[in-house]
């Protein structure tokens, strides 16, 4: 009881997370991870569109590149690829 109570102006507004979740490697969850066959890819971007984890990096021109450090291996991109250019590899 030795510390005096702080006034309401000093109390922080709320808890503020300060680190980006980019630093948290959710890729460690995965059992399988995607691998793109670049010759089959038609660059439609559907793997990028349907990825729940923002894993694919795509500039709209080339082949999308998955960031395997964060990929949880759900396999949506494999199921939705129209040319079956993506396969799952056990990690």
């Amino acid at each position: 009881m030795s510390t005096p109570m702080i006034g309401w102006k000093e109390v922080p507004i709320a808890a503020v997370p300060f680190l980006s979740s980019k630093e948290y490697p959710t890729g460690e969850w995965a059992v399988f991870q995607p691998k793109i066959n670049e010759s089959k890819c038609i660059k439609c971007g559907l793997c990028w569109m349907y990825c729940p984890d923002s894993v694919y990096r795509w500039d709209g021109e080339g082949v999308p590149v998955p960031d395997l450090g964060h990929c949880k291996g759900c396999g949506i991109c494999v199921a939705e690829c129209p040319t079956k250019a993506i396969e799952l590899i056990r990690v």
Partner: protein, 329 residues
């Protein structure tokens, strides 16, 4: 039809913009194959200017902001279940006042020209938060409320909610001798929202991304409150395979479990694949195709529970007929 937008999403432009701004960062702890992860990205893609994100308690809230990490590169606030729409009302009212008195007129660091989006799950929308939504819609605050409907309280352990469909197994409506999953039907949330006579309300399924992003943009552009009902697969709670997430989202539309339509000032209009089903009823798939991919409906396929599938199909048909009548088919 004053608020009709002509904007059509271009996947390459969206990709370039996301690469530059990264509104939702990787590394959040949503389950593998979570449908909500796709929905939050599509909301950010549809933004026309900077957005302020108000998040009710739910899976997205607990998974994206586990202290000290955050996945958001947009201004974001967490709220309780019951006050998300009330907080959005406050943000909107404060902005109005601040721009009227010119408080930050000469401050280059403060931008008051933004859109407000509220994200709530089905528990926070159907059950706990409906009073604050109703109040905010009545006061005509300009924001977009997005309901991502995974049809139970998935975050706390798969308890049934007002959005849980008929026959679904949850931890509070288990399958046993007395009851076989939830004995009641889903609450007609869109009818409740449309009764508020808001300028824009729509249903989206992320599998039809073109349709979904165009509707989300219309919601941002609406002259007043907008409501978006998004269908979100939950591999954990539904007992579906993670890779089937988008397939289930598509099947829900094709079986008319979740028809796609928009309501502009109480005028119903079907969109996307629902139009082709309305014009050609043979394209409507039987509900079994949707049910068989999900573990929560597995008991319906036992011979003695065949009546459940028939009852569910009958209810879906009735809902679909009523919607067709409203949309003028």
């Amino acid at each position: 039809m004053a608020t009709q937008s002509v904007w059509r999403p271009n996947i390459k432009e969206l990709a370039r913009r996301e690469l530059k701004t990264r509104p939702v960062e990787s590394g959040h702890r949503l389950c593998a194959g979570c449908g909500a992860g796709i929905i939050i990205r599509q909301i950010a893609m549809a933004a026309r200017k900077s957005i302020v994100w108000i998040n009710a308690t739910g899976c997205v809230e607990v998974a994206t902001t586990i202290f000290p990490y955050t996945s958001w590169n947009v201004p974001w606030a967490h709220n309780a279940f019951e006050n998300a729409a009330a907080v959005a009302s406050g943000v909107e009212a404060a902005r109005k006042k601040l721009s009227r008195v010119g408080r930050f007129a000469n401050d280059p660091d403060v931008e008051l020209d933004y859109d407000i989006v509220v994200l709530g799950g089905d528990g926070g929308t159907y059950d706990i938060g409906i009073q604050s939504i109703s109040g905010a819609f009545e006061r005509r605050h300009k924001f977009m409320y997005v309901l991502y409907d995974n049809e139970a309280y998935m975050n706390t352990g798969i308890q049934r909610s007002g959005g849980t469909p008929f026959g679904a197994r949850t931890t509070t409506t288990p399958v046993g001798k007395v009851i076989k999953g939830k004995p009641l039907f889903k609450k007609p949330i869109m009818d409740i929202i449309v009764a508020h006579q808001i300028p824009y309300a729509a249903t989206i399924s992320s599998a039809y991304w073109n349709d979904a992003i165009a509707k989300l943009r219309k919601g941002f552009e609406a002259d007043g409150p907008a409501f978006i009902h998004a269908f979100s697969t939950c591999p954990l709670g539904w007992g579906s395979a993670p890779e089937d997430t988008v397939k289930i989202m598509r099947l829900a539309v094709e079986t008319c479990v979740f028809p796609l339509y928009e309501v502009t000032n109480r005028e119903y209009r079907l969109t996307g694949p629902s139009i082709s089903i309305a014009k050609n009823p043979a394209r409507k798939k039987p509900i079994e195709e949707y049910l068989k991919l999900q573990g929560r409906f597995r008991h319906m396929f036992k011979p003695e529970n065949k009546w459940m599938i028939d009852k569910f199909q009958g209810w879906i048909d009735k809902q679909w007929e009523a919607l067709l009548k409203r949309a003028g088919y």
